[in-house]
């Protein structure tokens, strides 16, 4: 192995900081999946009839798929078969009552989130960011709810939304990702236990970042959360999602669904910093992150932006997409995906142009190290009605070492002759000369690699809110403290 490869390896092989386990008693269902389990989940959550019906329809659809073709097999990833009957579908920290305020939340839970850098207490919580904290299957606390409510913004756990805003849920649930969408989305629709819900009323610009932090804690459980964001006409919201899990030798399944709805002139920015446990250096353990994320620009001139920084998970299977239905609507996808050791990522986006003059931008940065395997998979589809649709796609790969892989699989389908679609791709390595140049200035090899990788990702990071851009670059093994401006 060359010296470059060695220093690169040292730089990317850092300990996973968030691998601890919270010792807390859980109220968990027995492993396994059947209609009774679904009824139990629904009744535990005291759901209205339409929710149970919807779950059961999803479950019956999933059973058909499971008996048929099963999981999707087209992705460039491999894993042993998943035994869906061995998964615990509901696990909640045991509390004597539903907490009405933070004082009633188990201090162990508050401590857990504090340790993760997400203080929930009134005194310490992050300024300018409202957080919904999800622990295993349930939301434990949501900050700044009252302040947001003054503006008419609803920001709460999904379970709470089902209780208090069932009409909104009934209208929009499954409107972007129907329960028939794909194997994992169907599974999620049947068994999802919590997540976040957000509604921004007409003309309101949400004054702070909204954020959901997902924490998997219990062993043997899966996490199936569902996020729904509805931005009404002329509104704006910026949303951020973070995630971590303990280090365990077995794989755990995370099958989430996120739906975004943007009405006329509304704008939603959705950012993810995904740092699920990735497995050890031999590839044991880690999260299977099989997630369906999709936004629908329903209204004219609406805009949805996805920004994702994917550094964790044993396997990432994820394609945050935008359906550009409204005329003049805009979709964006900015992605950094890093794989190391034996991690696998098959990630990208779908931009479906339906309306006239719709525009989309795709910028994907893949970094592969160790034995990691990284695939960009993207679809740009222009339907017959989408006159003058435009797309620009750029996919760049950076290879660290000589045992990793980078693949690019773009699909382009254009059915309108006035559309314009551009695709550009590049592959690069960190050169010996770049490393020597940095070292000659006194910068250690490790920091040099971090800096170069960070520079490679810069165009994606600049789409993240400032404080999260810092976190993202730290995640890549870099400190932006070294940067001015």
């Amino acid at each position: 192995m060359s010296t470059t490869a060695k220093t690169v390896e040292a730089a990317v092989n850092r300990e996973y900081e968030w691998g601890f386990v919270t010792d807390i008693e859980a109220d968990a269902l027995a492993p396994g999946l059947n209609e009774d389990i679904i009824r139990l989940i629904s009744s535990k959550k005291n759901e209205p009839e339409f929710m149970l019906e919807w779950r059961l329809r999803a479950y019956r659809h999933w059973v058909k798929m499971d008996k048929g073709a099963g999981e999707p097999r087209w992705a460039n990833v491999t894993h042993p078969p998943i035994d869906y009957q061995s998964i615990v579908y509901y696990s909640a920290p045991k509390q004597s009552m539903v907490p009405g305020s933070l004082e009633e939340v188990d201090p162990k839970l508050l401590q857990t989130f504090e340790k993760l850098g997400i203080p929930l207490g009134e005194q310490k919580r992050l300024t300018g960011v409202a957080v919904d904290a999800v622990f295993d299957s349930v939301s434990v606390a949501t900050t700044f709810k009252g302040k947001l409510a003054e503006l008419g913004i609803i920001f709460c756990s999904f379970s709470e939304a089902v209780q208090h805003h069932p009409d909104l849920i009934e209208t929009y649930l499954g409107s972007v990702v129907p329960y028939t969408d794909n194997f994992f989305a169907s599974l999620n629709s049947a068994v999802f236990t919590d997540g976040s819900f957000c509604y921004i009323p007409k003309g309101v610009r949400c004054p702070m970042e909204l954020s959901t932090y997902f924490r998997i804690n219990a062993a043997g459980s899966g996490q199936f959360e569902r996020t729904l964001i509805v931005a009404d006409e002329g509104s704006y919201v910026s949303y951020l999602e973070g995630c971590t899990a303990p280090m365990r030798d077995e794989n755990q399944l995370h099958a989430a669904v996120v739906e975004l709805v943007a009405l006329d002139n509304a704008q939603i920015k959705y950012a993810t910093i995904q740092n699920w446990y990735a497995g050890d250096q031999e590839g044991r353990g880690g999260i299977y992150n099989f997630v369906t994320k999709r936004g629908k620009c329903v209204g004219r001139r609406s805009k949805i932006s996805w920004t994702q920084v994917e550094t964790g998970s044993a396997i990432t299977w994820k394609y945050p997409s935008v359906i550009l239905q409204g005329d003049d609507s805009v979709g964006e996808f900015y992605s950094v995906a890093l794989v190391n050791n034996y991690q696998q990522a098959d990630t990208g986006t779908k931009m479906i142009h339906i309306g006239k003059n719709t525009r989309s931008t795709i910028l994907s940065k893949g970094i592969s190290a160790g034995h990691g395997n990284n695939t960009y998979r993207g679809l740009v589809k222009v339907l017959p009605r989408a006159a003058h649709a435009r797309n620009r796609t750029q996919c760049d790969s950076l290879l660290l070492g000589d045992r990793c892989g980078a693949h690019t699989t773009p699909y382009i389908e254009v059915a309108n002759p006035t559309a314009s679609v551009e695709h550009e791709a590049s592959t690069a390595k960190i050169s010996e000369d770049q490393l020597f140049y940095c070292k000659q200035r006194g910068i250690s090899a490790e920091n040099a690699v971090s800096m170069i990788v960070n520079g490679f990702c810069k165009d994606v990071f600049k789409n993240l809110p400032m404080e999260f851009a810092v976190e993202a670059s730290k995640l890549l093994g870099v400190s932006l403290e070294g940067g001015v401006g």
Binding site: T3, K439, I443, M451, F456, G482
Partner: protein, 257 residues
């Protein structure tokens, strides 16, 4: 400050430096001149510690230490700076970010406190004036899309910010127009102090019209074959390198080991 004794070095078994001897004291400026292929750049790279070159014999003492035992980053932290002949591009990393990382890593290793963004920017602004560049320069990615002259000025900017004890300028004058040459030379002159030393590696005499060296050495076929004062450079300019070739050749045939 720097003492090179019988230094032999090469790349992939091919010997390029064949016994270099050189003494550099604080406050001195040495020009190392020579025709293409004489080993000038190799000497610069070996002193900086580039891993492509293997030292096969001889020693280099720097400030009482064995320089050859130090990693490239430790040499830099000990005050050895190389202005590159071909500065490297680092896409997406701003010049300010890059230099701040360098300054703070060096400071940390020397037991000093890191500079914060405001302190650092103040220093950087002052040094920008020295190389006559405006502030937009430091937010551009390191050397990316820079003209030849801008890349060399960036090297001098870094030299000014890092304030090394020993600066080695590898053909910093090559490819510069007369204005850029003047700016680079002005920067270098402003940085001369009684405590630091410089080695100017150059093919042409014209840089020495702007920077007056204390000593001039002629490198030929991997050895220093002639040393003198600044007038030696003028003599070279007038007579060309063939003069040296003839003179050395008379003593020892070309290519003799």
């Amino acid at each position: 400050m720097l003492s090179i004794r019988n230094l032999h070095a090469g790349v992939e078994g091919h010997e390029i430096l064949r016994g270099i001897d050189l003494e550099v004291k604080a406050g001195e400026v040495h020009a190392v001149m020579g025709p293409n292929g004489s080993g000038k750049s190799t000497l610069a790279q070996v002193l900086a510690g580039h891993s492509a070159y293997a030292v096969t014999a001889g020693e280099v003492r720097y400030d009482g230490q064995n320089l050859l035992e130090l990693s490239p980053e430790d040499r830099a932290r000990a005050g050895v700076f190389l202005a590159f002949q071909y500065p490297v591009e680092i896409p997406g990393v701003s010049t300010a970010q890059f230099l701040k990382a360098a300054v703070n890593e060096i400071r940390t290793r020397q037991g000093q406190e890191e500079l914060d963004a405001i302190e650092f920017l103040a220093i950087l602004r002052e040094k920008l004036a020295l190389v006559e560049m405006d502030q937009s320069f430091i937010s551009r990615a390191v050397n990316e899309g820079f003209s030849g002259g801008e890349k060399k000025r960036n090297e001098i900017l870094q030299l000014a910010v890092l304030k090394p004890k020993l600066a080695i300028l590898d053909e910093t004058d090559s490819g510069l127009d007369i204005d850029a040459l003047r700016i680079v030379a002005h920067g270098v002159n402003a940085l001369r102090t009684p405590d630091n030393a410089m080695i100017l590696v150059t093919h042409y005499q014209r840089l020495l019209n702007y920077i007056t060296p204390d000593y001039v050495h002629v490198l030929f076929n991997g050895r220093i074959v002639k040393s003198g004062g600044k007038e030696l450079a003028l003599e070279l300019e007038a007579k060309g390198y063939d003069w040296i070739r003839d003179e050395v050749g008379a003593v020892e045939p070309l290519g003799a080991a």
